[in-house]
């Protein structure tokens, strides 16, 4: 009797999965916690508190699979916010979207085009790479007036996706991709690529379709080689602004910049700074924050059942009102994508990522 009565009054559990042991996962974890605290401070959802169940997937597919199976098996978990990047999200989506009681997942920042419509239980707050690559190409061509581009890409789905999308658009605009060179996380030096790019006519823009460590490696070696090409990168570079002078002036495409002008976002950034020693959230944090608030609204209106939550989410933007979050307006298409969201280009200025237009 006691157990039966205490059960519904207990907290509603939301899984939170990402590489929390790594720097890129920090903002996501913090923002999600902030959102939950705010919601609980207002009395929770349907008279019950929200509770996060964080699970570290280390950014690896195998770990993500294991973590996903654990979250799926816990009947208290009603939905998952995560995973952070594309490959773990792809692996985990296979777990969440199958079996007798599927679980909806909302990724804050997994941008691979492969994820679009991977199954009916996958949703994401961020635009896909298909939107990032062309945006970067147009920025390089128009704003930077670049005509010869060099690309260093991480040799995985993400890097190749950005490379292909950028090269397609840049070539279409009339530019030349001089060379596209791959690397893997184990690669210790990119110097041969950079040296070769310097030969002949050289390049006038370098696209780092890379993760943050690879980008940092390239930037350090550029510094060593005294190269000063304008550097642009995808949203995987977000966080790089913390590296100080090395990254000053690097342009990063992003679904979200903390200096977005909306009052709602300003309040979020201020709350975040207050809660975490003056830190600023990144696009992952903002995405996770929106994902948690969206789930809270969903549970309020549809109840705390796994299927009810999924069915409600699928209607957000068509049938149910779109969700106005700090990252902008969230309205899902049938693939769980947010086609209405725009990619913006930010620039690192004084250790901060700000809108390129601020310059």
């Amino acid at each position: 009797m006691l157990a039966a009565c205490s059960r519904p009054s207990g907290p509603i559990v939301i899984g939170l999965a990402g590489p929390f042991s790594q720097a890129r996962g920090t903002s996501m974890l913090r923002a999600a916690e902030l959102a939950v605290d705010q919601i609980n401070a207002r009395g929770g959802v349907r008279g019950r508190l929200l509770k996060l169940k964080p699970a570290d997937d280390s950014g690896s597919e195998n770990t993500a699979l294991r973590v996903a199976e654990q979250l799926y098996a816990d009947p208290a978990v009603v939905a998952v916010v995560g995973h952070l990047s594309s490959d773990p999200s792809k692996a985990a989506a296979r777990v969440y979207g199958a079996g007798p009681s599927p679980l909806a997942m909302i990724s804050p920042s997994a941008s691979s085009p492969d994820l679009a419509g991977i199954n009916p239980y996958f949703f994401r707050i961020c635009p896909s790479d298909v939107q990032h690559g062309p945006q970067l190409a147009r920025f390089a061509w128009q704003t930077l007036a670049a005509r010869r581009a060099g690309i260093i890409y991480v040799n995985d789905d993400y890097g190749r996706g950005i490379r292909r999308a950028f090269a397609g658009e840049f070539t279409r605009l009339g530019g030349v991709v001089v060379e596209a060179d791959p690397y893997v996380p184990e690669t210790r030096s990119l110097e041969p690529y950079l040296s070769r790019m310097r030969l002949g006519a050289g390049i006038d823009v370098l696209l780092l379709a890379a993760e943050r460590p690879g980008a940092e490696l390239a930037l350090r070696e550029m510094q060593t080689l005294r190269l000063s090409w304008p550097v642009i990168g995808g949203d995987a570079l977000t966080g790089i602004e913390a590296d100080g002078a090395l990254t000053e002036g690097v342009r990063v495409s992003s679904a979200y910049l903390p200096d977005r002008p909306e009052a709602r976002n300003a309040a979020f950034v201020a709350d975040y700074a207050r809660a975490f020693q003056g830190q600023r959230p990144d696009h992952r944090g903002a995405g996770a924050y929106d994902a948690v608030h969206l789930l809270a609204r969903t549970i309020t209106e549809a109840g705390a059942g796994r299927q009810a939550i999924r069915d409600y989410l699928a209607k957000v933007g068509h049938g149910k009102p779109p969700f106005e979050g700090v990252t902008g307006t969230v309205a899902f298409d049938t693939n769980g994508d947010v086609p209405g969201k725009q990619v913006v280009i930010g620039v690192v200025r004084g250790g901060r990522l700000v809108s390129a237009s601020e310059r």
Partner: protein
Amino acid sequence: MRRIFDTIRSRIVAGLIPLSIGLVGTALLAAVTLRQMRHAVADELAGLRASSEIGSGLVAMVFDEIRAAEQYLAAPSADARQLFQAASDEAFQYARRLEALGITGEDRIAVSRLKQLNAAIQVDYSIAHALKDLGRDGEALARSAAVRPQAAEVTRLVRDLSSRQAVKAAQVADRLSAASREREKALWLLLGGIAVVGLFLARWAMLSVQGPLSRLVTAAERFGSGDLRPVTVGEMPREFRVLADAMQHMADRLRRIVGEVVGESDRIAGSAGDLSATSEQLAASSSQVSSAMVEISGSADHQRSALGTMGAGLEELRLAATEMAEAADRTAQLGAEIRTVADRHRGDVAAAGKALLDVREVVQTTSRQIGELAQLSTAIDDFVDLIKRISSQTNLLALNAAIEAARAGEHGRGFAVVAEEVRQLADESARAAEEVTRTTTLIREHMEEVTATMTAGQAKVRGIESIAEGAARGLAEIVAAVEQVEHAALRVRVAAQANRQTAERLKQQVEQVAGRATAHASSAEQVTAATQQQGASTQEMAAAAAHMLEAAEKLRGVVRGLRV
């Protein structure tokens, strides 16, 4: 439910439908099973083929990639570089496709490692190419050498993957064969179930025919043995119910006819009883008539003896008158004696008159009773008419029954015999009634005779009365004469002469009266004889009534054999 299955046809249809459904279902199940197995085999084979194709494609591409890369390292050219780029992109696509196959466990780790190795090989060669382009051949060579163990690992991983696929194929084959065994077992069970259901339904249909049929036969045998009471045959198929209803209908008709026959025989018996009672009444009346006649006869004797006594007196008177003529002086004494005698005779004459009055009364009573008897015999006629009507009606009913029995065929044969019995009994009743009519006519004739005799007797009695009155008057005259003798002794001789003449005339008259009394007595005896004859007729009638009663009882006995 009962309503739906109330015909044999519907029961057979109801039995065949589930059987057909079961058989069709089994066939469908078998077809579906075969189809599923085919699809499962096709899917598994497609999966195996895809993974083996992709695996070998990946290995081929990795080697293409290595060849192109080595070629570039040997002699850098745009062609070789493009070839390397294309091969590495292709290999990457193969790795992705391998990943997309949805493999799990050990295979997933192997595939993910393959992807990593492929990516690393590409990167190593890309850097070697860059070094070669930069003219740093030594570094490029060292770099390309690092590829070799990775290439070997790729080959090993793909080989392992293939062998695991082969094991998996064997497992799949086992699983499919186990599944097919399961399905086979299920199909056999289903077929067995259908067979059991079929047997059960067949038995059900047979029982639904046999049970009602045997009940109908029992009912027909009962009717045949004369038990015509309504039979409850219970639930039965509609085809049998039509037959059962026809039998019930026949039994109803027979029962009604038998009921009427019983009623009629009761009425005949009642009539016969009435007739016999009437006969007894008649006999009683006859005996009354007889006793009255005996009384009449007795009275006539008495009258005759009284007249004899009077004759003797008159003789004495004649003798006395003669003596008176001879002895005049004893006349007064004799006169006194004469008066005494005359007084005594007057009393006797009065007594005789009184006796005659009694006779007249008895005769009147008798004739009234005979009239009543005639009326009663008319009632007998009415009864006989009734009996005749009843017997002719019974005859007609028996004929109808015979026709119905013939129509019922084999089952009506028993009743046809009964109907014939009834008809014969009706004929017998008619004959008995005829006999009664004849007897009654005879009785009536006898009664008319008796009535005529009685009327004659009455007239005669009235004559005797007037004679008696005359005698009384004569005696009074004697007394007056004797007084004249007493008063006028002188004229005794003359008077004695006259007296003698008168006495002679008186004697003559008395003899006449005596003759009449004798005639009267013989008439009474005649009446008695007629009455005795009537009594015999009445007994005959009673016997006829008894015969009729017996016939009615017999009829009743025959009908009682039929239970309704």
